[in-house]
């Protein structure tokens, strides 16, 4: 489902990344000027705290979506790791590194199950991860029921959200930043990254050109599971609470950020910068609106509309341009390449 119109759209808008970044700056500046408190360091601390888990999951999910797959089970993996952290604490495990290690390994295993179903058995990832969304969340309920584990040591909970010395920004953002650099380099500067786009555009062709599509996708699911687990540990410690329903519905927020960031749901297109900008944009917008006493439900409407606009806008603009181009081409020799793909004709 590669969409040549989309490439043309990019030249209309410059690049989508730039559009999202611009929107982010606009929201931040307008917010800072018009809304009381939206310029304060405290404000940015909250925005960052909120964005950290979403960014942690969005990083690997971007790669998954670029290869043409999807993982809807991420929030359930997060929930199950939250519960695991709580259960480990109840069992008397007092070593935080051990807890983190167990959680991340568990997340990787859960991701491996997704990957096995998708690449090993050849099942559609949308259906598989809707299944594991229910399964993993269900297991979280099986472990903790409706109880909550909340009595973690102070050093764990404040440690997770401790600011970078001299600022109020939580240090975890540095971890996110480092991971983003790694993922960005892999995606945009290595043969592996190019192969991800290739398999998103045409898995069959990618396979024939010697890319091990199955194995790559499998490991992407594993990494997505591990990163969701890391987000789960952070979630537990930030809210000092492990409950089975932690992060319910977060999968749609993360997917919304990835798609708003310009990644095509059909794969083969998108960049990491746009996704990170979209995560920041949604977080900033939410907090600005909250500070402006706009009811939270308006934000739901704004998020949804942004998401729709992010696919409809470029598409319509591209089609209009295409029509213009074809009108100009009339009279000239028959330009068969002017037909972007049969799917665009009616």
């Amino acid at each position: 489902m590669a969409d040549p119109t989309a490439t043309r759209v990019r030249s209309v808008f410059g690049s989508w990344d730039a559009v999202v970044l611009l929107a982010l700056v606009l929201v931040a500046v307008v917010g800072a000027v018009t809304v009381d408190g939206a310029a304060s360091p405290r404000f940015w601390r909250f925005v960052t705290l909120e964005a950290i888990p979403i960014a942690l999951i969005a990083l690997p999910l971007t790669l998954v979506v670029i290869t043409g797959e999807i993982d809807l089970s991420v929030a359930s993996v997060l929930g199950l790791t939250c519960v695991t952290v709580g259960q480990l604490w109840l069992w008397g495990v007092t070593s935080l590194p051990l807890v983190i290690a167990v959680a991340v390994v568990l997340g990787a295993l859960l991701g491996a199950i997704n990957g096995l179903f998708v690449t090993g058995f050849g099942l559609p990832s949308l259906a598989v991860t809707i299944g594991t969304l229910a399964l993993y969340r269900g297991l979280a309920y099986v472990v903790l029921g409706d109880r909550a584990v909340a009595n973690y040591p102070q050093s764990w909970t404040t440690g997770a959200i401790r600011p970078i010395p001299g600022t109020v920004i939580p240090w975890m953002i540095l971890v996110v930043g480092a991971l983003a650099v790694v993922v960005g380099l892999v995606l945009h500067a290595t043969p592996i990254g190019r192969s991800l786009y290739a398999m998103g555009n045409n898995a069959e062709a990618a396979r024939f050109s010697g890319i091990s599509v199955g194995r790559t996708k499998f490991w992407l699911f594993v990494v997505t599971g591990a990163m969701s687990a890391l987000a789960g540990v952070f979630w537990t410690l930030r809210f000092a609470s492990a409950r089975a329903d932690n992060g319910t519905g977060l999968e749609l927020a993360v997917v919304a950020a990835v798609l708003l960031g310009g990644v095509s749901i059909f794969g083969g297109r998108g960049a990491l910068l746009g996704v990170l900008a979209a995560v920041a944009l949604l977080g900033t917008l939410r907090n600005v609106l909250q500070l402006a006493y706009v009811p939270a439900n308006t934000l739901t409407i704004v998020t949804g509309s942004l998401l729709i606009a992010s696919v409809v806008g470029p598409n319509l603009a591209g089609r209009a341009r295409e029509r213009l181009r074809r009108r100009r081409a009339i009279g000239g020799p028959p330009v068969t390449t002017a037909t972007p793909n049969p799917g665009e004709e009616t």
């Binding site: 299944g131 229910a134 969340r137 919304a256 049969p342």
Partner: protein, 345 residues
């Protein structure tokens, strides 16, 4: 895979292959029925009261709304699309019904039903319009409208709650009355199911939905108005979600802005468990409805069997994985059989 899809789209052709495929998919629906029967039998043996009149009524009532949503979703999924906004449409329509009765208590019930249907159809038309006209992926658009419709619902309700006392008795009775032991609501669902099933099976427009789901490009090239058909699939799904909203209001009486929240993935789960391929082109609304009944039955059977009800969600997840795994195995088998036939003449 393509062989499977192509032949299921034309049941009129009576080649051996088509008959085989039909049989397999009949087996698929019988499979769910069998699983359902087994579950009910085991549960009834554990506790005979599970088959009591009240318990069966609760079970049917519980699956009705999910089944109606699943029928609409199946129509959309068959065209290789998905509608994630159904839960939000249900919420909007349920609250609209409640507010309508608060504003004018004497309103005839059919009018309320009609308003719910039309409201749902309008929401569906928004989805379908964006998807068919702007040609953007359904998953993204309906994820967006999931937020938008729910947001509108929140704004409108603004934390208010509508109680059963605000609604006319006749309307609430609609939600609880039975005819010969079968709840009225369930009869509504059965009518919806039969009409949708008949249309998909025996009408040209219905068959074209399968053709679109099997291969949208081929469908377009063979002259099927793909955009229009997909648009109407979404309108149908929206209208059914609207109807489900009215029934939700009648059944529960108490309404706030959260009606039907997070139900979209349950609906997709019911459809997938019911044997509708997530990439379109095969399956039936009967299967989807059976899937909805099976999911609801699991939920009510677990406590009766003495299993921690917290296992319910996990069981549903495992069931989805089993169902798609089974479909895949069946599809591979059919494809191999068909290939075998054609190579031997």
């Amino acid at each position: 895979m393509t062989a499977v899809e192509a032949t299921t789209a034309r049941p009129a052709r009576t080649s051996g292959g088509a008959r085989l495929v039909n049989r397999v998919f009949l087996v698929r629906e019988l499979g769910i029925l069998l699983a359902l029967g087994l579950l009910v039998a085991v549960t009834a043996i554990a506790n005979p009261r599970f088959l009591g009149a009240q318990s069966i009524k609760d079970l049917l009532l519980g699956s009705t709304i999910l089944a109606i949503l699943a029928v609409g979703q199946a129509v959309v999924v068959i065209t290789r699309n998905v509608d994630l906004s159904v839960g939000s449409i249900l919420g909007l329509s349920a609250f609209a019904t409640g507010s309508l009765f608060v504003a004018s208590p004497g309103l005839p019930i059919p009018v309320a039903v009609l308003v719910g249907l039309v409201l749902g159809a309008i929401c569906g038309a928004v989805n379908g319009g964006l998807i068919a006209a702007a040609r953007v992926p359904a998953l993204v658009v309906t994820l967006g409208t999931l937020y938008v419709f729910r947001g509108i619902d929140y704004r409108w309700a603004g934390g208010r709650q509508i109680n059963a006392a605000d609604m006319p008795d006749g309307f609430l009775r609609l939600g609880n009355d039975t005819v010969l032991g079968i709840p009225l609501l369930t009869l509504v669902a059965v009518v919806v199911l039969v009409v949708a099933g008949f249309y998909l099976r025996s009408y040209r427009g219905g068959r074209e939905l399968y053709a679109i789901g099997s291969d949208p490009d081929a469908a377009r090239l063979s002259g099927i108005p793909v955009g229009r058909r997909v648009f109407f699939a979404f309108v149908a799904s929206g209208a059914l979600a609207g109807l489900a909203g009215v029934l939700h209001a009648a059944r529960f009486g108490t309404l706030d802005a959260n009606a039907g929240i997070n139900s979209e993935l349950n609906v997709v789960a019911a459809v997938v468990v019911g044997g509708v391929a997530i990439f379109g082109g095969s399956g039936s609304v009967y299967g989807a409805a059976l899937g909805a009944v099976l999911l609801t039955t699991i939920a009510s059977a677990l406590p009766v069997l003495g299993i921690n009800p917290f296992w319910q969600r996990a069981a549903v997840g495992a069931l989805i994985l089993a169902a798609i795994g089974l479909d895949r195995a069946l599809a591979i088998r059919v494809a191999r059989r068909l290939r075998g036939r054609s190579s031997h003449g």
